[in-house]
Point group: C2
Chain length 335, copies 2
């Protein structure tokens, strides 16, 4: 009861296995009646090529590995979507591995990917183990997406311009009249860049004195706690710029619990423009990071690199855009 092989098809169609192979790969050098005979045999037997045999022989898998930090972050899914659609168009399939989950399981995911001999690798977001990306990149064409690290030779980087995004958010708040603004900072290089953008703009407007930075993390919980600390301090900010939407939602909750109305008493900006920010009940002003588009660009970079593995690594930044919704407004005149 084994699945039929190319030889079974050949026998049934009365041709050689080589001819079947030619037909299946779309060769023009085959006489129409033979082609028909082969296709009929394929149909009758329900033949499906064996991908393992094919890639063993072709010495490539037509598969790209995607290393993801956390599938629960909606922004990653967005990026993944763009990635998929572009790679699919080039006949590549995508193999997904969630680094957070599997690290918990104690496996180095790049091992799996090298054993599978993926044709390329995309590392999305800040990963638990950047060293693994380095060793993998030495073996297989690699592109880093959605973050600026690790910087490696022969690795392209496709990311948003986080510093610019942070500038947009901060300038929006200042433009509304806010002076005392806080930033809930994230971790890693991305967190660093967004914080830097915030601080630079505040400095440029002579507001360094009324700028506060509170360390949070990438979760709602982190945003909540940071905001509770911020709003409990003596010089309460009138606006908060959060590292990402999740933290922004946490800030929203904290404000609500402390009896502050948003945006009346407190303005709030998130980052990423995930579907969370688009929920009407949250309706968060945020910075659009163009995840889908970034995914497509990362895919194109990878295709280029697969074609020419030795090309020098490039850094491509996409410009983010401010998405103004319902959580920002001018401060009270009193403040």
């Amino acid at each position: 009861m084994r699945p039929p092989t190319i030889r079974d098809v050949a026998e049934r169609a009365g041709v050689s296995k080589s001819l079947v192979s030619l037909v299946l790969r779309g060769s023009q050098q085959v006489r129409p009646e033979k082609r028909r005979a082969v296709l009929a045999a394929v149909e009758e037997l329900g033949y499906r090529p064996n991908a393992a045999a094919r890639s063993l022989s072709e010495r490539r898998t037509r598969t790209v590995g995607v290393l993801l930090n956390d599938l629960r972050n909606p922004w990653f899914v967005e990026l993944l979507d763009g990635l998929n659609s572009e790679l699919y168009a080039s006949g590549l399939r995508t193999l997904l591995a969630d680094g957070r989950l599997n690290r918990r399981l104690g496996e180095d995911l790049t091992h799996t990917f090298t054993e599978l001999r993926v044709d390329g690798l995309i590392a999305v977001g800040t990963l638990p183990d950047p060293a693994a990306v380095r060793t993998a990149a030495a073996r297989v064409p690699t592109v880093v997406a959605g973050t600026r690290e690790p910087v490696l030779p022969d690795v392209d980087i496709v990311a948003g311009d986080d510093e610019l995004g942070a500038r947009l958010a901060t300038e929006h708040l200042i433009g509304l009249g806010h002076r005392h603004i806080a930033h809930i900072a994230g971790r890693g290089v991305v967190g660093e860049l967004r914080r830097r953008g915030f601080e630079a703009v505040m400095r440029e407007h002579g507001l360094s004195g009324s700028a506060t930075v509170e360390q949070g993390d990438l979760t709602e919980e982190g945003g909540y706690r940071a905001t509770v600390r911020l709003l409990g301090a003596p010089h309460r900010p009138t606006a908060v710029f959060a590292f990402n939407d999740m933290a922004g939602v946490g800030a929203l909750s904290a404000a609500g619990e402390l009896g502050l109305r948003v945006p009346g008493d407190l303005s709030l900006v998130g980052y990423d423009n995930t579907y969370l920010a688009r929920l009407r009940h949250l309706w968060l002003t945020t910075v659009d990071n163009a995840g889908h588009d970034m995914g497509r660009r990362a895919a194109r970079r990878l295709l280029d690199r697969i074609a020419d593995p030795a090309r020098p690594g490039e850094v491509a930044l996409t410009a983010p855009a401010l998405e103004v919704r319902g959580t920002t407004a001018p401060p009270h005149p009193a403040d």
Copy 2:
């Protein structure tokens, strides 16, 4: 510059390739010094087995295909997590395909999976093309998770008891004193079951007359629109039980826009206990569907089925639990 093969390792270690194979597969029949020599050679050459060659020879891939409806639905991710951890423990890796995305691309994902010769298949949630699951199930051990369809011979089903979950939600609302209760219904068998549970409980309490069902869909938008229609009707309900959390959040928004306070003027229950419901700013009363646990159970079923493909299909329902949060309260005495 090809990656080293088992023969390269054998030559370096001064043994036969068969011995290398034995060592790598952990045989006890190998003398310690030879084992050491082989492992040293592996290390020096940076050898990694070729998964394609291995699975061609072993005639299995140690890979399970997961067909997912929509990665954006947090509940699916939860289930996936459970699935992964259990399968990983059995040495199986997981290959993920988002049906919604790929259908847009016009591909039948089961094709990919049959070409890859996955050892098993898990279909998660209501899929765009149930017929594809049928044909796939004829070739490869298959388990359906998170929904009750399609029912096929030799296919196990692991799902939540949706009717029971709906009963819990409805009884909770009735217990609080609500009489006029609306349900925002979803699509597919799952939607059907939840609606049936709702209607049964209303009937049992003699409340059929004040039960309303409004068709929504699985999105926030659908929940929002359905709620706007419900609240605009003459006999406004005092409580809404939504098909899932997303729809519940839409309902929350609609209530807010119409000037109704939740839970003061309107009680609200969702379904799935996704992280959305856990966001403090939403804090939605919901029905916990135990996604992680369900994923693990689905994995175990699949392992059983791979071991014995002919075993009769079973249906396993997990009991959901009500998770009471901040969106439900007794109605106004006036209502």
